[in-house]
Amino acid sequence: MSKRILNHPTEKETGPKYWRSLGQVADTPEFKSWVAREFPEGASEINLETSRRSFMKYMAASAALAGLSLSSCRREEKNLVPFSRGVEWSVPGKAIFYATSRPHRRGAQPLVVATYDGRPTKVEGNPFHPSSKGATDIHSQASLLDLYDPDRSRHFRHAGNVVEEKDFTAALEALVKDASDGSGIAFLTEHFTSPTFRRLRDDLAKKMPKALWAEYEPLGGEEARLANEAAFGKGLRAIPNIAKADAILALDCDFLGFDEGTLEGIRSFSQRRSPEQAMNRLYVVENRYTVTGGMADHRLRVQAGKVGAVARQFAEIIASKTGDESLKSVIAKFPQTPAFSAEQGKWIAESAEDLIAKKGAVLVLVGYRQPPAVQALVHSINAALGALGATVVGRKTSSKPGATIADVSKGIAAGSVKTLFILGGNPAFNAPADLKFAEQLANVKTVIRHGLYEDETSLVLRGGKQSWHVPAAHYLEAWGDGRASDNSILSQQPMILPLYGGWSEIQLLDFLLTGKKSEGLDLVQETFKQIARGIDTESWAKFLHDGFLAGSQAKAEALALSAASVADLAATFKSSEGFEIVFAPCAKVDDGRNANNGWLQELPDPITKLTWDNAALVSPATAEKLGLTQDQKNGLFVSWLRIEANGDVLEIPAMVAPGHADDSITIALGYGRTFEGRVGGREGNYMSHGGWGAKKSGVGFNAYKLRTLAAHYIASGAKVSKVPGEKYILAITQEHGALEGRGADVIREATSETHKHEPGFAKDQHWLHERGAMDAEAEKRDKKGYPIPQSAYSHPELKDKNHQWGMAVDLSICTGCSACMIACQSENNIPVVGKEQVAEGREMHWIRMDRYFVSNMNDREEKIGGTHLANVNEPRMVMQPMPCQHCENAPCETVCPVNATVHSDDGLNVMAYNRCIGTRYCANNCPFKVRRFNFFDFNERQKDKYFRWNLINEKGMADTLKMSKNPNVTVRMRGVMEKCTFCVQRIQEAKIAAKVKAKDTDKVQVPTDSFQSACQQACPTGAIVFGNTKDPNSAVSKTKDNPRDYRLFDYIGVNARVSYLARVMNPNPKMPDAPKDAIMGHSNGGHA
C-alpha cells in the first residue's frame, strides 16, 4: 500500500480570514517558522548560564554525591500516623466540601471548597446559590493559591521590626483607652460587604462618634452611585435584568467580564444566545476589545471619551422617534458633541431603530468607568425605551455613602487625623496620584495597617515610628459573612487555621469595641442572630451547609426617573480632546491585589493573550502613526512608548491591539508593583537572557501614577511619543499552538437567518473537498463522490460498553473568559513556569483559549507596512477553548516508542507518566498541538533555578505550595509529556463510586451527569459540556445531537471526542457592518 497523502484545504482569496496575530496576517517569515516548528527555535536547548568549567565542577561533585547515596541504600522507614482522637466527618483521603464565600467589592462569591485531610485544594461555585449555580470566576478559582502563598504577611510589625502579637494587643488596648469620642481617629477601608463588618462599624461609630470612616476602592463605583442617585433618588440603584432583554446596547460596559459582570448576568445573557431559542442581539460600543465586545453582533470602536457623544446621538434619535419629553429635556442640558462619520452615524441610527422597534424588551448598559453625566443620560434613555420595571429593576443599596480617600487626605493635611487604621486595600500604591498619599502617610502619628501582604503601603509604614502592620487572615482561614451580588447573605467559614497567624478585619474592629480578641465565629453568630431574628442549632447549621440565608436576596423596587436632576448632572459632561489614556481593570490581577498569584500572572489575558505584563494597547493605525513596531520571535519584541499625562510620565511598552480605537491607549491597572513578592513584586519578572536592559525589573508597569481624582478612568489630552532604541520582550501566547492557519475549518459560523434554513451548515464538509482537502486517492466515497474520511491510524477497541467519555463546546456562548484554564490548573496540579518559559512557548496549560480575529478579506484596502492585508482595524473576534481532543484514532499514540500514551477502554487518550521517556514525538504528531512537555522541574524549582545542575542547586518549593496540590493527580516531573486527561481522577472516582454502590449487582454504569470535569464545572455560561456519550440521557449526548455539532479536522479521520457547536450570530441586516456572507465561517459559494 502506497503512502497516503492527506491534504489540508487551501485558503480562499476572498471571504473571511481567521487569524491570531498581526504576524500571521502579514505572513512574516517568523510566523511561518513558528508554525512549522514544534517548539520555537532554541526552545529545546538549554541556555545554560553556567560556564563549561563550572559544569565540570558540578559533574564531579554530583558523582561524589552519587557515591555517598549508594552506600546508604536502605529502605526508608515510613510512618502511618492516625489521629489520636477521631475527628468528626474526617475520612482520611476523602474530600469534604464546605460552603463558604469569597469577599469581593461587587458582591461576595458563593463557593464550595473541597478539602482533603484539612487542607483546601479546590474552589468551586456554590451550586445551591441562585447567582452562582456552581459556576465561578478566575479570581475565586485562583484565590486558593493566595492562601498558600509563602510571601503572605506572617509577622506583626512595629516601626518595621517584627514583634509579638501581644505587643500589638497591648498597644491597641492603650489606644482604645485613649480613644474616648474618636476624635483624631480615621478608618480607611476597602468596600466590605460583610454584615458583621458593618454591624461592628456602626457600633464603633456610636462609641466613637467623631471618628472618620472612609472607603476606597481603586475600581469602585462612585460615578455609578452619583448617576443612580440623580436618576432614581438616594439609596436606590438600577439593576439590569439581562434575561428579559431582546436587544442590548452596551456602552463601554464589559458586563460579560468578571469585573463589571456578575455570574448571574453572564449566565442569563448566554441562555439567550442559543439559536435553538429566540436569540438576543448585542450592540457594543467600546474603545478596546473586551470579552463583551467579542460576543457582540455589532461593535463600534470609538474612544472611551467619545462614548458620551455616542450616547447623546443615540438619545436624540430615541427622543425624536418616541417623543419622550423627559429624555428631550435631558438632552437639552447635555453639552453638544462633535458629529460622527457617515458610517458611524449610520451604525448609531440603525441600532437605535432596532431598539425602538423592540421597545420594552431592550436594555442599554453603561460602564461604571464612564462619567456620571453619561451614566445618568443612559438611565433616561432606558426610561424612554420602557426598560424601567422590565429589563431594569431597582434595588435598595445597603451601604451609606461615607467619606472618601480625598477626605482622609484632607484630614491628614489639616492635622486632624492622628491615628489612621487602614483595613485592606493598598492606598500607597493605588490612591489617585495627585493625593500623594504615600508621602502623606508619614505625617500621621500612628498608622495601623491590616493587610494580607506586606505591600507598598506596609513598606511605606516601616519607616514610621508608631506604625503597625497586622497580618490579615485569608478568607479560607477566618469566620465571616458577606453579601452576594444579589444581596443575599453568605456564610464564610474557615477551612484551616490561619497559616501565618492572621487576624480577620472583624476581629480587629471588635477589639476596638471590647478590648479583647474575640472568636470570629461569635461575632458572625451575633450578626446572624440579629438578621435572622434568632438563632438555633438548626438554622445556623443550615446557613453553614447551604452557604447562604434563603430568602435574604434583595427584592425588586420600582424605579421612577427624576428627569430634572438627571438633566443637571448631564450638564456636567465634558468632551474629551486629543489622545486619551484609558485605565482599565486587568482581567487577571484586578486592581493589583492578585499580583502575587502565579496562576493569574501566567494566564494569558483573554483578549491580548499577554502574560506576566501589562502594555499600552494601541490600534494598528495609531501604531503606524507613532512608528511603533513589533515582531514575534521567542516573545513579542515591542517598542517603548512615552506617555505624558496628568503631570507625570510613564514609559511603557506598546502592543498593537486589533479592534482598538484610534488615538486611544488602554493600560491595565495593577502592574508595576514594588513590594517583596516573588511572583508579582520587585523580583517577579525573571528572564535570564536580556530583554529590558537597565530599564526594568518587576512585573508590568504602574499606570496608577498617571491617574488622578479628576481623571479617574479616562485621561484626555495625553502627549504620546515613541521612545527610540531598545525593545521590550512581551511573553505572549497568541501564536502558540497555531493550527497552521486552518481557521476556516476550525471555526464555523453562520448568521441566525442561515441557521434557520440550514441548521446543519457546520456538518457539511463538501466545501473542504472543493478546496483540495482530504485524501484524494481514498477508495471509499459517498454518493456525491466525495471521499469518506479515513484515518491513517488504527482504531482502538473501546471495550467499555457502559462508558465512553466525550465533550462538546458551544462556541455560540463561550465568551473566552478563561475560567476553565484556572480551574484546570488548580484541579490538575499544573505548574507555573514564569515569563521566560512562556516566551519560549513552554507554558503548561492543559486547556488553552484560542482567540481568533476574523476580518473580511473583501476589505483589503486596509494597509499595514505597505502590504495589502486583511482588515486588522475592525475585526470580529471568536474564542475557542482547546483541550486535548481525545481522538479515537490518535496520531500521538502510534508514534510513541514506549507506549506511554495509549487508548483506554472508555475512550480516553491516556498518559502513563512513568513510562514516558520524553521523546516528544507525540507532541510533534498532534494536529491540535495540545501536548505539553516538562522541560524543567517546574513543580520542584523556583523559576530562576531551573537551569543549574541538579544536585548542587537548591531544590524545592515552599511547603505551603505543596499543600495546595490535588492529592488525586500526579505531580509531574521533568522530562515527562502531559496533557488534558478529561479529569480522569474524577472519572475514576465516579466509576468507583458506581461500583461500590453496585456491590453484588451489575449496575456499574455511572449515573447520568453525576460529575463534571473541572473546566465544565467552572464555566459561567455552560459552554462546556462533558459526560458519557454511551448514556443517551446525558447532557453531552444531547448536545452532540445538535445539528450545529462538528469536529475538528474530520477530513483526516482522527475522530475527535471533543466536538464544537458552530457559532451562530444574530446580526441586524440593516447595519453597515452586517456580515455579507450567510455562512460566515467559510463563505462557500454554494450556500451564500
Partner: protein, 224 residues
C-alpha cells in the same frame, strides 16, 4: 622476529570476554532478582511501637477487620485506627500493661502513635480499597493471613504483575461479599473438583453476575 606474546596468550581475549560476560550476566541476574518487589518487599516485618498482635485480635478474638480499619469500605485509604478506637477496649482490658504505655500516652496527650508502614503503594500508582472490598475481593488476596501473624509482615509482592494477574483473571479472587473479611474462607468444593477449580467456578459465576471488569489495558485506572 621473536614473538612478544607467548602462544598461550592467543586465548586471552576470549577468556576475558567469557569472564566479563559471566560477570555481566551475574550482575544482571542479581539486579533482576534483588530489585524486584518480590525480594525487596516480601517478608518486610518492621518493629512497631506497640507489639500489636493481629493473631490475638483477628485470629483468637475473631474481631472483624472493619472494626479497626473502619473506612476500608468507603475510602481509597484503609485507615489505621485512632488511639480512641484502641482505648474503647483498653481503657478496661489490660489497662496497666506496660506494652500499651505509648497508646495511653497518645490518648492522654493527643500526640498520635507513630505506626510503621508495612504495605506501600508506589506514588505513581493509585489504589482504592473500597472498590475491591465492595466487589468481593478479600483482604487476604493482597495482605495474606494477617489473622495468623503475630507481627504483620509483607506477604505478597504488590508489584505491577501481582496486580495485573488478578485484573486479568478476576475470577481467581472473587468471593461472596459477606466472606470478604473472613480470611480463612475457601470456595465450597463440589464433588471431586480441586479447591482451585472450585474458586474458578464460583469466581466466574460472580464475575458475570457483578459485571466485573477491572482496568487491564486502561493505564489511567491506576496511573493518573
Amino acid at each position: 622476529m621473536p614473538q612478544i606474546f607467548p602462544r598461550g596468550s592467543n586465548l586471552v581475549p576470549l577468556k576475558i570476554a567469557i569472564v566479563l560476560g559471566a560477570l555481566a550476566t551475574g550482575a544482571f541476574g542479581a539486579f533482576w532478582y534483588y530489585w524486584t518487589p518480590k525480594y525487596t518487599r516480601v517478608g518486610y516485618q518492621p518493629e512497631q511501637p506497640i507489639p500489636f498482635s493481629h493473631k490475638i485480635h483477628a485470629g483468637q478474638l475473631q474481631m472483624d477487620c472493619r472494626y479497626c480499619h473502619s473506612f476500608v469500605e468507603t475510602a481509597a485509604h484503609s485507615n489505621i485506627p485512632t488511639a480512641q478506637v484502641c482505648m474503647s477496649c483498653h481503657s478496661q482490658i489490660q489497662k496497666d500493661n506496660p506494652k500499651l504505655a505509648p497508646l495511653r500516652e497518645a490518648w492522654e496527650t493527643g500526640k498520635p502513635v507513630k505506626w510503621v508502614q508495612v504495605h506501600k503503594t508506589p506514588d505513581h500508582a493509585y489504589f482504592n480499597h473500597s472498590v475491591h472490598v465492595n466487589r468481593g475481593v478479600s483482604c487476604v488476596s493482597c495482605h495474606g493471613r494477617v489473622d495468623q501473624m503475630d507481627v504483620v509482615y509483607h506477604a505478597e509482592s504488590h508489584a505491577m504483575k501481582f496486580c495485573l494477574d488478578c485484573h486479568r483473571a478476576p475470577e481467581s479472587g472473587l468471593r461472596p461479599l459477606d466472606e470478604v473479611t473472613n480470611l480463612a474462607w475457601t470456595a465450597p468444593i463440589k464433588g471431586k473438583e480441586s479447591a482451585k477449580q472450585a474458586q474458578l467456578d464460583l469466581g466466574n459465576e460472580l464475575k458475570k453476575q457483578r459485571d466485573v471488569n477491572p482496568p487491564v489495558n486502561n493505564c489511567a485506572g491506576c496511573h493518573r
